[in-house]
């Protein structure tokens, strides 16, 4: 039951941010930026529940660091729309934050995707799932890259950050494949729960990339819900992982 409530809270957060955008944009901005702190804190706490030799410790730590950088970036420099006509130095700082956020996200997801390596088994169709999401990543990423280059002057600092974001998104969407395969392989077991939320998060990030291929009037409403949901689902994944580990510890012999 608590896992359902956790999922519902993520969707509700997205809906509240979308509604705030209509009635109180300043509050919506604050709620969106604050959301980045949630997976950062939850991810670090979850990482510390693993030992130093455990792969998932580093996956959670790197993934959480990405959101921590994202939060700091939003506090220091703001969102893309706020920096489109800012001074070059601001654009460089914005691009650096975006690069680090995407690099940590990709590295974290790559570590999650490698959870089966060295175990002696893996879902047999994992590679096909990865290939499928790579094709999808290209189908979304190429129009996004064209869109970004159309709006921004090429080689401007902000365009470099935007391109880093597009490339990061392509790799991240590709890495949804192994995460999806893991979630399906573990279905019916308690360990599937954090993977479900992680999948929901990366799926929302994928949907967040769709506006470039969607009609503009649809994209405006949709972005307000999808991005906060993606961020809060990442926090929910870390919380679910922590809950699952605590429940296991309570039920297992010392």
């Amino acid at each position: 039951m608590k896992y359902w409530l956790l999922g519902a809270a993520c969707v509700l957060y997205g809906v509240v941010v979308a509604l705030l955008r209509q009635f109180d944009p300043a509050a919506a901005r604050l709620a969106l930026f604050a959301a980045y702190a949630l997976p950062a804190v939850a991810g670090v706490i979850t990482a510390l529940s693993y030992g130093s030799r455990d792969r998932l410790r580093w996956a959670w730590l790197v993934y959480a660091s990405g959101y921590g950088i994202g939060f700091l970036g939003k506090l220091v420099i703001g969102d893309l729309a706020e920096n489109l006509h800012a001074a070059t130095s601001h654009q460089i700082i914005w691009s650096l934050f975006v690069f680090c956020f995407n690099a940590c996200g990709v590295a974290g997801l790559a570590l999650f995707a490698r959870v089966w390596s060295g175990t002696g088994m893996a879902p047999p169709w994992r590679r096909w799932a990865t290939l499928g999401f790579f094709v999808l990543a290209l189908a979304i990423g190429i129009p996004n890259a064209r869109n970004a280059m159309g709006l921004l002057s090429p080689m401007s600092p902000i365009a470099i950050g935007a391109m880093a974001s597009v490339i990061g998104d392509i790799v991240s969407i590709t890495l949804i494949g192994p995460i999806f395969a893991t979630m399906i392989a573990l279905r019916g077991g308690v360990l599937a729960r954090p993977w479900f939320f992680l999948f929901a998060s990366v799926l929302c990030w994928l949907l967040n990339n769709l506006p470039a291929v969607l009609p503009a009037n649809v994209a405006t409403y949709y972005d307000g819900i999808v991005r906060p949901a993606a961020i809060t689902f990442a926090a929910a994944a870390a919380i679910a992982q922590l809950w699952v580990k605590r429940e296991l510890r309570a039920g297992l012999p010392d």
Binding site: D54, L56, V115, L186, L191, L248, P253
Partner: protein, 79 residues
Amino acid sequence: MGEPALERLQKCLAVYVGPHTARLSLKTFAQKHFGMLPNQLPPSALPDLVRSLRPLLRSMLGEADSEKLSRLLLMECEQ
């Protein structure tokens, strides 16, 4: 007569990794380490089968919790 040890083991493992991965992992490691299907294994081979699951459990749960789960699975084999 009680439930066979292999079924108890599979059910216990399924609580954590799900029925599909529980069945597949026991089959994979039984074939890899003993060259036979899990239901062809003698009961005395089950603890070794559980030990072969350790890398999988360690990757999913971390070292400390996977050791606890391994102990629980070994207890299921011995009952």
